[in-house]
């Protein structure tokens, strides 16, 4: 069976672990538990009739002191950049990580997930920068680990991009 390593990257506290849990286990928890190192999960999806097992590397978020370790990303077939729609600065972090991944590992399929779309009243990311990224070829999906909005679609879309 086809097996693909997928990294989930972004600033700390953007909801990477909850997105993976929502996708793998259909579970959501409001409690924020930080990730140290990396958590490995897997789930099989289908692209057409072909099953693809995604090995998901939920990697500790980046903060002011620690950057994402690029040796975690080696061997990945694709990755998610996750930003928190209620924290504009997390979009800058996502953009920075994308640049480093491209420099270190090369051009891999990726999607930008703007998470917490259920918190529209606290939305902090302006439309302009996102539209600019889309114009430059980024795939952008608004997601909510809480409601599940966009989550399944995002994982299937990245899988499709990885196997095509």
């Amino acid at each position: 069976m086809l097996q693909k390593k997928v990294c989930v990257l972004g600033a700390f506290g953007v909801g990477k672990t909850t997105l993976v849990r929502r996708f793998v286990e259909s579970i959501f928890s409001e409690a924020y538990l930080t990730t140290v190192g990396v958590k490995i999960d897997k789930k099989t999806v289908r692209v057409g009739s072909e099953p693809v097992t995604l090995v998901l590397w939920d990697i500790a978020g980046e903060d002011a002191e620690r950057s994402v370790r690029m040796n975690y990303v080696r061997g990945a077939s694709g990755y998610f950049l996750v930003a928190d729609g209620t924290r504009a600065e997390t979009l800058d972090v996502a953009s920075s990580i994308q640049g480093r991944v491209t420099a270190e590992v090369g051009g891999l399929p990726f999607l930008l997930l703007i998470n917490k779309s259920d918190l529209q009243e606290s939305w902090d990311i302006a439309a302009g920068p996102v539209e600019s990224l889309e114009r430059s070829g980024w795939g952008v999906v608004r997601t909510s680990a809480k409601t599940g909005e966009g989550v399944e679609e995002a994982f299937h879309e990245l899988t499709r991009r990885m196997v095509s």
Binding site: F12, Y32, V36, I40, K42, E89
Partner: protein, 403 residues
């Protein structure tokens, strides 16, 4: 290379193997598992089969093999058992060695510290965002407040200009009113325009040596427009500008009605009471176009008089061009006083919203009056008292002719 005594190196080995739950895998060139051992169960990797593809048995290895560099370390990797391990990769002629060292307790301690730090950071970021929003809201409010103040100043200026214009119009209306007269009979009046300036006007003049005309009119509505029409009508009546017989009130009203149709005057219409007094015979001929009746009070001022309403049917002036008016006649036997007025004299609301009755006006006008006082002032004071203050809702116009 650090050379340690065997006792020390053995002790270190024992320390690591007992505290770090060491486990290992050897993966050959075909990426198949060649051997495995150590505390695999601790890491959730028991049951691995030699000869089988390593990545199929432990998906974590997907994409990592063959190694691009060695030795290679991945720290704090979550294991299938829920424990956390540092994963070391070594390479020799036998293949790739994967060595697992348990770091669960270190990981848990680090997570507690990191959790607190992130919670604090998220809190301070949230506070900063809130402050930015508050500052933005404050800036918006400041701008809105300034714009509001500018609008208010503009409104105040506009209001003051309108007030000046109203007062100018009021002065003009007052300027065309005739002065009181005392011979051959006494005529006096009171005129108190409302704050918005109504459409009241009145006048009296000799048509010829024997006939004396007097009238009160009230244009609908308030403001400069109503005042302009009332002044225009007054000037026409005073100057004899109509092609009509000014001795016949019904003809005068008919001519006015044709000349001042509301369709040609911005929708405005008016009421008027018009009378012609023949001084030698003391006969009064009068007509009305929807105006309140005049009141004739018979008898001396010092005693309660008898009130007679002088009215005649007639539609509002300016509504229908074909309207015809009729006149009535009576004799003013001395002593008597004739009062002409607008509805503002008696349609006065009390603070409790009830309205003054017409009969109350008649009662005031027929009341005995001492020589040093005037019924006109009594009526004005009564209206202001009824209203509950000096400012009246409508123009107050009253004319008294004493025979």
């Amino acid at each position: 290379m650090l050379h340690l005594p065997t006792r020390i190196s053995d002790w270190l080995l024992l320390l690591v193997t007992t505290q770090r739950s060491v486990a290992y895998l050897l993966i050959d060139q075909r990426q198949a598992l060649a051997m495995s051992g150590g505390d695999l169960e601790r890491h959730g990797l028991s049951g691995l089969l030699d000869g089988q593809q390593a990545t199929e048995q432990w998906p974590f290895l997907e994409g990592l093999l063959p190694l691009s560099e060695a030795p290679f370390l991945l720290q704090s990797v979550g294991m299938p058992s829920g424990s956390v391990a540092d994963v070391h990769f070594l390479v020799d002629e036998a293949g790739t060695w994967v060595v697992l060292l348990d770091v669960t307790s270190d990981h848990d301690e680090a997570r507690i510290v990191q959790q607190k730090a992130y919670d604090m950071t998220l809190l301070s970021q949230r506070e900063a965002r809130l402050m930015r929003k508050l500052e933005a809201a404050h800036a918006d409010l400041t701008v809105a407040h300034r714009e509001l103040a500018e609008s208010r100043d503009a409104l105040v200026q506009s209001h003051r200009r309108l007030e000046r214009e109203l007062r100018d119009a009021e002065r003009y209306v007052r300027a065309i009113l005739p002065p009181p007269m005392t011979a051959p009979f006494d005529v006096d009046w009171r005129f108190v325009p409302s704050t918005e300036l109504g459409g009241d006007s009145f006048g009296y003049h000799w048509i010829d040596a024997e006939h004396f005309a007097l009238f009160v009119l009230d244009v609908c509505g308030h403001g400069v427009g109503a005042a302009l029409l009332s002044v225009a009508v007054t000037n026409v009546l005073r100057s004899g500008g109509l092609q009509t017989d000014y001795h016949r009130p019904e003809d005068v009203l008919g001519s006015l009605n044709r000349a001042y149709q509301m369709d040609d005057h911005d929708g405005m219409y008016f009421t008027i009471w018009y009378g012609v007094y023949h001084h030698p015979t003391r006969r009064l001929r009068h007509a009305s176009a929807g105006h309140p009746p005049a009141i004739l009070v018979k008898g001396p001022r010092e005693t309660r008089g008898e009130a007679v309403r002088l009215s005649s049917p007639g539609m509002l002036l300016g509504v229908l061009p074909s309207t015809r008016y009729e006149s009535e006649e009576c004799t003013l036997d001395a002593p008597a006083r004739l009062f002409l007025f607008s509805d503002g004299v008696y349609e006065v609301h009390r603070p409790d919203d009830t309205m003054m009755e017409f009969s109350e006006l008649e009662s005031v006008l027929t009341a005995p009056v001492s020589a040093d006082r005037s019924e006109l002032d009594e009526v004005l004071h009564f209206a202001q008292h009824t209203r509950g203050g000096p400012l009246l809702e409508d123009d107050f116009s009253i004319v008294r002719m004493t025979i």
